[in-house]
């Protein structure tokens, strides 16, 4: 059965990659291939859901839990079937809905990769496997949202979605580090046993990642941008995949959140507030897809709330039911957009009456969205609310539930109205004025599930689900709770429908409010501060550091010039002067040599010669002269003697 699990992920992944590499040559076979692969995935999902296999592929070597490990437990079993089922139905819709000239190979290649990533996400048992699937899903969602890249703004919307969700993903990187520090392993299940500061850090990381992916506050605005994608992409991203991944992760990591305490509370409040605020945002929308997007964040708020309060079975049920409801509504919205050329509520007046088949499916799904008994979201929301303790949280959650009835009522009031024939059609694209059978079939099947999952209100069915999810003992709603919430939904829905008939001016007033522009949440995600910081740093880099380096170079150059000048003017001149002085000294020494020493020597020689010739003079050879000399000499001696004595 391990092979089935491997095939579940690899078949769509390899098929998708193959389509992407082949490119437009594969446009013709892309649709049928995607249908075959998603149908195969659904079968495999059913197989693994029953057999619960596990598999491990080597990835990182030296760390425990560094492998890519997939395990199918109760929660994963529910989700793989859900993901594969929705993927198949959305593919059916996409094959019918995409224009004939679309780059189908690229589209279905990306869809298959995306589905494979989601399937891996909900079965991942180690952090590397989770993060790999998680981020590949984000990247493929970028490419899917920006599928029509040659239209202005589409790829920018994809960029916004990817960067926002990646901001959350950073939390998972941190959580992985904290997991390694706390438990020495990257196995997800081991994190439940983490303690101390590392557990807090891991819980914070997981929480941020999940809130980002599920478009909870404060990350919600990327969902609005993501509506730029083709309708089938919206139907896929905002039902069972992508946004669902965040809710799933929190349900999966609920023990960790609960262990830290604060993280569970934070998740509960983040979910409840998102349900409330984005519910209000949804009420104020004038564009059906934007309304549905805001309601997606709001409905997933209940899943996050469930994870926070520990109602994992309720959260899972809400996730499943919402997926069916929302996929159905997005299929309807997409089909109407293709047929009528508009997704503005004003243009969709009477859309359900123009196309009764699609209209019936959409009506059922919208009633379920409103929380009307006995449909699915009524039952699952009460499963979640049963776990909520504390008055404030309960009040916020109930208010959010009422808001969901209000925005569902706005849809119903518009599409069920009698068309006047003056609706502004073909505003956004030329409509085809028909809805093909596959689209109706997909929406119909989804509507059946949207209604049928209401059986979860029966305690027997709810307990069976809890048994599958290993969540026995979680509280179930009492009959009173069910009646109260059902009544609230019906009343709110009725008031909305009646109110929009009686006071048609109310809706435009709402649409002018700040809520219509998503309550300014987009500004929270503005890239401007980052870009400004980048420009400042770049300026510092150019004008500061680089100039300093250049300065060092120039200074070195200047010092070198100074040194050269000192060399020329100082040392060299000194050397020259020394040389000159030496030469002069040598010259004067030479002069002295020739004049003084040599002169003295010659003078001495002359004197000696003269003395010699003078000494020769008395030696005449004449005896009488010798006698006279002797007498004179004796006379001198005598005088000397006399004088001395």
């Amino acid at each position: 059965m391990t092979a089935a699990l491997a095939a579940l992920v690899l078949l769509p992944a390899v098929g998708g990659a193959g389509l992407l590499v082949t490119g437009r040559r594969a446009d013709r076979v892309a649709g049928p291939l995607a249908l075959a692969l998603t149908a195969g995935a659904l079968v495999l999902a059913a197989v693994v859901a029953a057999a619960r296999p596990r598999l491990s592929a080597p990835f990182l070597g030296i760390v425990d839990g560094g492998d890519l490990r997939l395990i199918v437990d109760g929660l994963s079993a529910v989700l793989v079937v859900l993901v594969a089922g929705i993927a198949l139905l959305v593919t059916v819709f996409a094959v019918a809905d995409l224009p004939a000239d679309a780059a189908r190979a690229r589209f279905f290649g990306l869809v298959l990769l995306f589905v494979a990533a989601m399937l891996a996400t909900v079965t991942a048992a180690t952090l590397p496997a989770l993060l790999l699937a998680w981020e590949v899903m984000g990247a493929t969602s970028y490419a899917l949202i920006g599928f029509r890249w040659d239209e202005p703004g589409k790829l920018a919307a994809g960029t916004r979605a990817f960067v926002t969700t990646r901001a959350g993903d950073l939390g998972l990187y941190v959580a992985a580090g904290a997991a390694l520090a706390a438990t020495g392993s990257l196995v997800l299940a081991d994190l439940d046993a983490a303690e101390g500061g590392w557990a807090d850090l891991a819980a914070a990381g997981v929480l941020v990642a999940a809130l980002g992916k599920s478009a909870q506050l404060p990350f919600s605005a990327w969902l609005s941008a993501a509506m730029q994608g083709p309708s089938p992409v919206s139907a896929l991203l905002h039902s069972a995949t992508m946004v669902a991944a965040g809710g799933y992760l929190l349900i999966r990591m609920q023990p960790l959140l609960a262990a830290t305490g604060w993280a569970a509370t934070a998740a509960a409040w983040a979910g409840a507030l998102t349900a409330l605020v984005l519910g209000a945002v949804a009420v104020a929308q004038s564009d059906l897809k934007q309304l549905l997007a805001a309601s997606t964040a709001a409905q997933l708020g209940f899943v996050v709330l469930a994870a926070g309060v520990g109602a994992t079975a309720g959260g899972t049920a809400q996730l499943v039911a919402h997926a069916a409801v929302k996929a159905g509504l997005f299929v309807a919205a997409g089909a109407w957009l293709t047929a009528l050329g508009t997704k503005q509520l004003a243009g969709l007046r009477g859309a359900a009456r123009r196309y009764p088949g699609m209209g019936a499916a959409a009506t059922v799904a919208a009633l379920a969205l409103a929380g009307v008994p006995p449909l699915s979201l009524w039952a699952t929301k009460d499963e979640v609310l049963a776990g909520v303790e504390g008055t404030a949280l309960t009040v916020v959650a109930l208010a959010a539930a009422v808001l969901s009835a209000v925005y569902a009522g706005r849809i119903l009031a518009v599409v069920l109205a009698r068309p006047t024939g003056e609706e502004p059609l073909d505003e956004e694209e030329p409509g085809t004025h028909r809805i093909p059978l596959p689209s109706r079939a997909a929406a119909g099947i989804l509507a059946v599930f949207a209604a049928g999952l209401g059986v979860l209100a029966l305690p027997a069915v709810a307990d069976a689900l809890k048994a599958v999810l290993d969540a026995e003992g979680e509280p179930s709603p009492g009959l009173g709770d069910l009646l109260l919430s059902g009544a609230l939904a019906v009343v709110a829905l009725a008031l909305t429908v009646a109110g929009s008939r009686a006071r048609p001016g109310f809706a435009p007033a709402l649409e002018r409010s700040p809520l219509a522009s998503w309550a300014g949440l987009g500004h929270l995600l503005s890239p401007r501060p980052a870009l400004a910081l980048a420009r400042v740093l770049a300026a510092v880099d150019d004008r500061g550091i680089d100039r300093a380096v250049r300065g060092v170079g120039l200074a070195a150059h200047r010092i070198a010039r100074l040194a050269a000048r000192a060399d020329d003017g100082g040392i060299d001149r000194a050397v020259a002067a020394v040389a000159g002085g030496t030469r002069r000294g040598a010259a004067s020494a030479a002069r002295g040599d020739s004049r003084v020493i040599d002169g003295a020597v010659r003078g001495l020689a002359r004197a000696v010669r003269r003395a010699g010739s003078a000494a020769r003079r008395p030696q005449t050879g004449l005896l009488h002269q010798y006698y006279a000399q002797a007498v004179a000499g004796l006379g001198v001696l005598l005088v000397l003697l006399l004088l001395v004595r």
């Binding site: 998680w134 981020e135 990247a139 994809g158 990646r166 520090a181 880099d541 680089d546």
Partner: protein, 527 residues
Amino acid sequence: MLTVVIFLPLLAAAVLLAAPRLSGRAAIGVWVAASAADLALIAWMWWRFDPGEGASGVVDGLAYEVDLQWIPTVDAGYHVGVDGLSLPLLALTGVLFLACAVYSLREPDRPRTYAALFLFLQTACLGTFASLDLILFFVFFDLTIVGMYFVISGWGHGNARASALKFFLYTFIGSLALLVGFIGLFLGSEERTFDMVALAANPPLADSPVAGGLVLLAIGLGLAVKTPLFPFHTWLPDAHTDAPAAGSAVLAGILLKLGTYGFVRIAMPILPEAWQRWAMVAVVVGVVSVLWGAFVALAQTDVKRMIAYTSVNHMGYVLLGLGAAGLVASADEGARTVATVGAMYQMVSHGLLTGALFLLSGWLWSRGHSYAFDRWGGLARPAPVFAACLAVAAFGSLGLPGFSGFVAEFQVFTGALQATPVATVIAVVGILVTAGLFLLALQRLLTGDTTVPSQDPADGGEPVPPTGGTATAVRAETTTEIRDLQGHETASIVPLLVLALLLGIVPGVLLEVIEPAAAAVVELVGR
């Protein structure tokens, strides 16, 4: 065997220089053949290499070792060998140089000398990675600077001479600091040797913290300039912008790794005590480089400068991982090993992805003689293959799982968090900024109205039809006649991307070589 691998390119270069009458195409052919043969030899070495068990490498388990006397008076020798640290980088060198050779098949400008210069450079790079002797390392290290100087100044564009000079002087001064450090190691060692294995086995200056710190400072400075790390990085964007595409690819892919490789090969095992003491400095420098590189890259208006700054960012992760490996007191050995493995994986990963990005940016230059973002647009329409390759390379470089960058960065973060949680959490923001900047770049280059720089005949491009008038000037700005990636460009870029993808999906191939060596480094640092 290893010696043949190192000097085979040099031999081919000598042949090329000795045959002045060889035609340009034949010369490039020789280059491709020599690089391919060298890569085949490296592959064979890899095949026969036994990574060993546990902590193997650096001081034992060296393969293909050759130790010949060279300058016996100072005990410097021709000592080369291969372990888990050097083998991945040797292989990366082989791959990237072959890719550059294929990319340059149509090089019109003095192809024979160009080929010879690159082959010389390849020998210098291989020699640096294989060296087990400090003096030999230094010689090869400096030869790479010389080779790259001539590549930039001879075949660059723009302000090539000034950039080349800046590159040369800056990195050369860095290498002098390195030399001072090496001499310090020599003087500090008991055996008075330049042999890395002997020094790592018996680390010098173990009980003189001041001298050890100063020697580490000198070595660290030299390597930081080469890596480059903040604030020594400003030569990089200039050198890259003005270098030819293949030169940029080698500069970013291989030459930067000489710096980071120096940290794991020399600084960490030989000065373990000093590295532990100053590891926090490495962490801080790494984190600052991560964020600085990312943010400054975000603000660039020039494709090549942007890619150059992302190199600073990516090398910052390496330093973060290596610094964390030195924080012995605050993390267990397992986590520190993970961080080191990530840092080393990043070296290979960055080489492949940034090499591909720079070769892709060469396409812009060859088609429009401009890297400015505002002169290009809507390229996905006329050049879908280029667009697809650029998108894949960008996602790989921003660390998308499934590509090698993720394996590297995930391990760096995961391993470093325990040692230095605050720094790691700050550094994680880097992958968000790189995601933003690459997606923004894709948006600017690939979507919108198709815009191609008007060809100015003075640039050497194809002349604009001399019809004049504003209308034609506008049309020249938005011409869609532009050739997509050609055969030799595809054949050089796509394999790099495929390798990055393979290493991202089955990292085991590379990890089984790196992990024992990383464990050895961590064990040596922990002494």
